[in-house]
């Protein structure tokens, strides 16, 4: 495995929503099955949403992002604005 989720604006991608995922763990969220790089990687892409208002943190729309062999979330580039 490589990155968990990669979003690159060089492909014209923006306005993505990432919700309700376990990224880097087993289905129970208790064991490290981490990706070999980061969990979520956003480059030159704006207006993305990672998670949301979650009654139970880490459950949908929130994410569990653990055990990855890099950054949990990496946001890079002058075009990578307004991710919330």
């Amino acid at each position: 495995m490589g990155r968990g989720i990669a979003i690159s604006g060089f492909a014209g991608s923006s306005g993505n929503t990432i919700q309700g995922n376990y990224i880097g763990t087993d289905a129970a969220g208790n064991a490290d099955l981490g990706n070999s790089f980061g969990g979520i990687d956003i480059s030159q892409s704006a207006n993305n949403s990672i998670g949301g208002s979650a009654a139970t943190l880490g459950c949908a729309p929130g994410n569990l992002i653990s055990g990855n062999n890099g950054d949990g979330i990496n946001i890079f580039g002058t075009g990578s604005t307004e991710t919330s």
Binding site: A28, G58, G62, D71, T81
Partner: protein, 256 residues
């Protein structure tokens, strides 16, 4: 980024950390967390910083639990809670309004400003549990500000709720110093950094320590405060001379 668990198990009780930062930003105008519990992220157990702003501006980090468990009662350590590096300017960690402060406890250092300018750190709990009273202290200092390029940062503020509550730090010194680790340590040429209206208690070292290369205890005052080029230009500390209470008004006099 809201409502996520980053670096823990699904219950938010154990370290399942990512091997680098929890969140790394080299970008501008992004929001991590918010002012309600449902918008909070738990960012704990990562092997790098919980949040590392390596560059960029106008990012906000608010209402999160960083380096604690879901309940905000015990440490799940990141080495640095929030780290801000050279090139990361005008970012906001916490805030004065209800819910904007972060809980940043159980790290080596809660807020580590290593070169950024004009960042604000306000209304946070640093070294306590979510109750603001229990001990979830950092191994080293509550706040570090260092490097000559770290200028114009503000720790606390003059408005309601803008002061940070900084307690129980320096419990386990990784790098022993003569003085013990303080609440806020400014060193290695960082200048013009304001430290305003914080509550800083029960730390091993000084509440505010202006040092050469780290926490090194009291820096003697010099006549006319002409020393410069050091941390906050080695601003003289106030010497209180008298305190009188008359008619319900307390008057304190002193000099620097």
């Amino acid at each position: 980024m809201r409502g996520n668990l980053i670096g823990t198990n699904a219950a938010g009780t154990a370290d399942l950390g990512n091997t680098s930062q929890g969140i790394y930003l080299n970008a501008s105008s992004n929001q991590i967390g918010g002012n309600t519990a449902a918008l909070r992220n738990i960012i704990s157990g990562n092997d790098g910083g919980g949040v590392n702003i390596g560059g960029g501006s106008n990012n906000t980090v608010q209402g999160n639990y960083i380096s604690t468990n879901l309940a905000g009662t015990a440490a799940i350590r990141n080495p640095d809670g929030v780290r801000i590096d050279t090139g990361a300017n005008n970012n906001q960690v916490g805030g004065g309004a209800t819910g904007e402060g972060n809980l940043i406890s159980g790290n080596d250092v809660s807020v580590h400003i290593a070169g950024g300018n004009n960042n604000t750190v306000q209304g946070n709990l640093i070294g306590t549990g979510a109750d603001g009273a229990s001990d979830v202290g950092n191994l080293e200092a509550g706040v570090y500000v260092h490097e000559p390029k770290a200028a114009g940062n503000t720790i606390g503020g003059t408005g309601a709720g803008e002061g940070n509550n900084i307690r129980f730090n320096g419990d386990g010194i990784l790098i022993p110093t003569l003085a013990g680790e303080g609440g806020v340590v400014v060193y290695f040429g960082a200048t013009g950094n304001r430290i305003l209206r914080n509550s800083i208690t029960e730390n091993t070292g000084l509440g505010i320590d202006l040092g050469l290369f780290g926490a090194d205890g009291v820096t003697p005052n010099d006549p006319l405060d002409i020393d410069s080029g050091f941390a906050n230009n080695f601003q003289n500390y106030p010497v209180l001379v008298t305190a009188n209470n008359a008619g319900g008004t307390t008057t304190i006099t002193g000099n620097t």
